[in-house]
Symmetry: D2
Subunit: 476 residues, 4 copies
């Protein structure tokens, strides 16, 4: 609708991307500064979204919201944090595809309706979002963003239930898809997870305060203790009367996104009792078991391949070598240089250490291949640095289908593994050999208590279907 | 809802204030740059609102909107104007009371609904706005501003008429109050005026382009010709098929806001065939006829009293003297100095010329008195500059009631003329005498063809009642 | 040196322009907030320069400076003023020609040298500036601006006198030209005026504080009392020991810039005991005496012609009419619209009132003609509004030579009166007749005690020569 | 002099910090975009300074400079880079101590003097800077920054040599200390290194362009080839006539800063033929040889301890474990949260992985200890995560003296190793044991061709004395 003008772009390697991270806090005595805790929590969740950030705080019914494009540290300064005073707060970081990278799409969203003020932050994707939206528009609703979150807000506004909590519960029952939601009314913090538990959501405690966060690393940074995860189909209401759990829906078996373990979640987070780094290290060990290769060393593509490479080295007995360096000042917007420097996109982030690689047979470890373009560039760069052989080992199976549950995969036809065999991919990216981890190896390696997984991107089995969203329709 | 942080405030003398100015242009061949014309037009209408400005342009259905707080020249720069390309454009300047001086309340507003994209800019006030809004919220509508304009947008979105023009017509029939509206769909420019014609709205032509503007001075600046005024109850649709007039409502007798002639409208504008400066000069002549005073000279309070003072001097034969100077760099935000300099608020804008005033009996001319605080300060300042006698003459009757049709008067009880007699006011403000123009003198002086007037602020006769708005309720 | 990027330009009518305004305050007890007083004072001097503004405050030897491009109200906000704490302050507003409109050239300038911290603000022009600068550069000085003021700072730094006040005095003796200077050391406020008194400089008092300002209107705004003017060749040192006057140079006869009375100074200022507005009114009276014309009315070009037009009307008996309106929101940057609207440059500022002008013979009054382009546009605009005859009367003689003493006149060859006779000018600008005030009439009308005048722009008699500056060289 | 207002501060762990990085490019045919190459080069050198960045480009004598506070990616956007057109460019990134973190101190500096325009960027510290500066001020020079670089500019301006290159050479002979300098006249790129080669400086080639950069990683990012290093005492002049080498001073034996190998330089850079990562790995191996400890695993403090930890693990046979995670979005300004969360400063950057550490005896590897405060916090954090024993091993000797050659060490008395024995330090920081690498072990491990080292911070042997700088005086 309204155009925006991105002068700079982020230099991204070819990865699947998480859509969002959410955080909420209720501090009845205001012992802790709610805005500060949320700021810190969002900082710890920054890897889940770097394009916009927002915090909404509620001071006895007075809602104050600030959001902006960019990293948490860019969007907030001391004055802005100081202006956000209250005892309930929610926050959000967002990754988004280029087309809809608008401030209007930043979260939390704050709406005023007959039910009262309501702020919502959401991680996930509704598979009936487009349908619900059209339906609401047909009834005369006016939308201000392209967010699924706004659908939920309209459902609450139109609910026949007068009480806002009941209206919220009622609205949750109408949406389908993957969602971990934190929301805030004038007196309550709400947390809810979809019936299949696609996306993570944890509950913690810090003194008298309750915290809800996408990952446990956001509890660690503020010194909070992890209590448990929100269950699939569960909704928590936290207010002056304490914390109240209920199930707005029948609890379905877990279909947790396995890519959280492979790539998205932070290595120091714990999900289902399983530390993420150790899970990835185990994927590397399993990969070593499944692969038969003669080489001089194991080299990770930093930082996504480090954990698996350590496991691979431990299991295979090959030395682990830091053969590629990652510039730690990347990860933000970068001006696309105008001139043609070959492989520049990769070089801005990565640089090989020639004296390690030269003349060596290396096993290069990464977590996944999406379109193959970055793998191709990295392998070329490593060869130019003198590598004798490059064997690429991937700590997950081939990605063959799109995600409809909150990840930004490319379209199905852009996924290299839907177009080529493993040999053809190896050939295309210039590897001497290419090995993927088996699906069985993947599932056996992760020990999350009581968790089942969504592996749709590896096998096309969508636990709740693809829905009616634009991507789903385009991919048909 | 969302707080904002005004660091600076405008130094205002105690005046009634216009709420808004509107402008629209349709250039079928794009011979003229629609954004540039709107920018110029808004500049000419800047006196009608200095707190926010916005332009929305439509390029074959692609709507681009930019708005911001401040003057037109602050909100727009070359890049922003360049980014607004299209053949239809509407613009808005807004004055607002401090409480709601938010970007969210800037206009035009742009909404996307099942009826299509719609941009609206509005000058006036709906007397059933609060009621309509509550009604819509009860049906589940979510509002993003506190603007009456958004009520209209929701009515269009919810109309049972499928066609957006029909839905717009239908919605106009539901709102009551004072309004001059320009709106834009993907292919049409719409202009509409309330059935009583409270606020001005003119139609002009520049080459192949049609222009709609609050005042004719906005036509002059771009070299356009004034065709006529939009009639009360009339709606114009301008698109590829040309210009089409219809009446969405029965045309009522004109109740044009007489304060436009007394103070708001620009002196070079023409309304109902009457030039505004000449009307004010005639008010001054009439005032001289009604007043009996012996004095050395006539001195206007600049700039509001200049036209009437010229007329007063002509009629009375007293010399017209520029005894007070107005700093021409005021009229924007100004930091309120922290220390106490007596009468500083007035001195930042006005400075007496001592050598003219000293030892003289002066007739001081202004257009109106609202709360009396500024008149008091000006008279004190003039006395300190040595004036022997100060006779204040006002070119309109005492303001005794609030406006519900689009002006920002103070609340009824803050109006000095509701609390004190003319003698008491003279005493309070420190004048040797105080003379108001009679209501009859006022009405006789203005020669606008076919026009009747709303004089509610002088006599409490509200042509369509006070309505259910917050101010109306507070004043009960 | 360093480029800047002006996206917008100021819409200027064709006028001579003042280079600068200066202001200084010393408040020994800090009873008054020095930064606030300076802010207000600069606001009152805004007409002397609108391109940059700056304030430097000294808190017990800790100098704080803030300056920026734009109007005083744009450059300063509450936080910035608060950060400027101290008991001595100086400020500056600057007009500059396009080429050197850089932040590096904004004043005051603050330099640290072996003599201590020194802040300087300067109004005027040194005729030996270029020569001195080259000399200093030859000795190894590095300049950071193209300002004459920096020459003075380098002279102080290099002076053989150890004491900074003595070094300053010594440096003043080396510079030649027109200058009114305020400066500040760690403990003293300094004010100095060139030996011929080309540019104005007044001394005032507010409670325990001393004020120095370019014009008395800057004393009025803060409620200060005018004590006297700084004398030609005089230097004041104001510090804990009180105020000390000395003459760094022999006092020469006054050669005060007569254009201050004609156009630059604010009408409410008093110079040499003469109020500026009354002086201009007298010029108008004299012009009426010198001119023989039959007409229906007198119309000023606002705002420069208003005072003279009032005098003309009084003397001639013709009615004074407000036939042209000035948009009071101009006077700042304005985006140059891209399309060709005839006479747009004038129309953005001025609009005729057709109903006054139509069919009438008018005497149009302005203060001066520089290149003639604007007069031509105004006359065309007035004729298009229906004027039957347009007789242009100018309240000063023809400008036939450039100024080397601090005004931005165009180059000599661009001055229309050096190229054409009065008849040819009338023809070029499209006037039915053109009358200039005689030089004698001009000099007779202004009653400033003890003042003589520089009239070089009217007669080429330069009291101290043209000097070696770039403009002087180009004009040879 | 002029205050600035830092609202945010950087969360820093307790490290010695490099002062600066420099970059220069000469592209005779303009085949490459000089500003883009410099932008990329500075990005690769970002680890050498994160507080300000600047680029100056020279287009046939027209110098354009842009600099600002913050990271390279924050200071420059597409418009700013586009505005920097030319065939010679130099750039700079700067770290600075809080007190002087001013824009005025950002580099490159650009000066105009009788010798012509000259831009300079400098890495290092002059030990006779304060003395030279005082001397120049006594001769009347005015300084605009507190940079040593400006001393050099004034020397050039005042040199008795007329030719700017000769004046530059002459000036280099007058300064003493550590410096790697790139400079630019209207037609030449200059590179110079101090006679002892304290700080690094490399020469590279990309097509027809010559590149000079602090480290070889800045050549890698743009695909340039490393030719050689600039020699101690050498000056290069690169212009249309090609590249010309000369020695402005007798070449002294190398006293290269050994801390570049220990901590500052990027692991992928090559200095004296030695890859930095491999050097650090070798330090870890040597540390393992020198240390006698029984433990379960080796854990690096990321990222400074990673390379040494890998070497330590290889030599000791203990498993290398990623027991602490570093948040990769840190490294920029961060709002200091107001409430007291214990060890928050460390937690914002680092988080332990409990499931790895719990119940284990760990060897924790870091590169150095400065004040000990961060080590103390990290060890506490690791213990709270359940570590059974924590043995801290440092891959360099105790830091016992300040640096006067361009590093920001704390003052001597703040260095923990000057105050306490190794056992006392272990006790203070809470380690079960503490082992430093021996100085001999350090020197034996680094194989840089023909290099000798400055080890003053470890042994107090200052190759050229401490000089007369403020720090030197304070530390006496």
């Amino acid at each position: 609708m309204v155009r925006e003008y991105p002068l700079q772009e982020r230099i991204k390697l070819d990865k699947m991307e998480e859509e969002c991270g959410v955080f909420g806090v209720y501090s009845s005595t205001k012992k802790y500064n709610v805005a500060n805790l949320t700021y810190l929590g969002l900082h710890a969740l920054q890897h889940r979204g770097q394009e916009s950030a927002g915090i909404c705080v509620n001071n006895d019914g007075q809602f104050n919201l600030h959001k902006g494009m960019g990293l948490v540290t860019n969007v907030f300064d001391e004055d802005k944090l100081k202006s956000l005073d209250g005892k309930i707060g929610i926050g959000h970081v967002r990754y988004s595809t280029t087309g809809s990278s608008l401030l209007a799409n930043a979260q939390p969203i704050l709406t005023n309706s007959i039910k009262g003020d309501l702020a919502i932050a959401h991680n996930g994707n509704l598979i009936n979002g487009a349908e619900m939206r059209l339906n609401l528009e047909r009834q005369g609703s006016i939308f201000h963003s392209t967010l699924d979150t706004e659908v939920l807000a309209h459902l609450v506004a139109r609910s026949f239930k007068d009480n806002i909590i009941e209206a919220f519960t009622h609205s949750l029952q109408q949406i389908k898809g993957a969602f971990s939601i934190v929301a805030m009314t004038k007196d309550s913090l709400i947390a809810a997870r979809d019936p299949h538990g696609f996306r993570p959501l944890s509950l913690g405690k810090l003194g008298d305060s309750y915290i809800v966060a996408s990952e446990s690393c956001a509890l660690d940074i503020i010194g909070a203790t992890l209590i448990r995860e929100i269950e699939p189909g569960e909704m928590l209401i936290i207010n002056e009367e304490g914390i109240k759990s209920s199930y707005y829906s029948e609890r379905k078996p877990y279909n947790f996104c396995i890519f959280e373990f492979i790539y998205f979640a932070r290595p120091d987070s714990v999900i289902g009792g399983q530390n993420v780094h150790l899970a990835r290290q185990e994927l590397g060990r399993q990969l070593a078991r499944e692969m038969d290769v003669e080489a001089d060393m194991v080299v990770p593509v930093p930082s996504s391949g480090i954990s698996a490479a350590l496991g691979f080295a431990q299991e295979s007995g090959l030395p682990y070598q830091k053969g590629i360096l990652r510039n730690r000042y990347v990860g933000r917007t970068f001006i696309q240089p105008t001139q043609e420097i070959r492989d520049l996109k990769v070089r801005i982030k990565l640089n090989p250490i020639r004296d390690i690689i030269k003349g060596k047979k290396i096993v290069l470890i990464d977590d996944s291949i999406v379109r193959g373009t970055t793998s191709k560039r990295i392998i070329r760069m490593v060869r130019e640095a003198g590598a004798k052989e490059v064997h690429l080992a991937i700590s997950s199976p081939p990605v063959i289908d799109s995600c409809y549950y909150g990840l930004d995969t490319s379209r199905r036809k852009e996924l290299i593994a839907t177009q080529k065999s493993v040999e053809e991919i190896a050939d295309y990216i210039g590897a001497d050999s290419l090995t993927y981890l088996s699906k069985e190896g993947l599932l056996d390696s992760i020990q999350a208590n009581g968790y089942g997984f969504c592996t749709a991107c590896f096998d096309g089995n969508y636990p709740i279907g693809k829905g009616t969203d634009k991507l789903a329709i385009e991919n048909r």
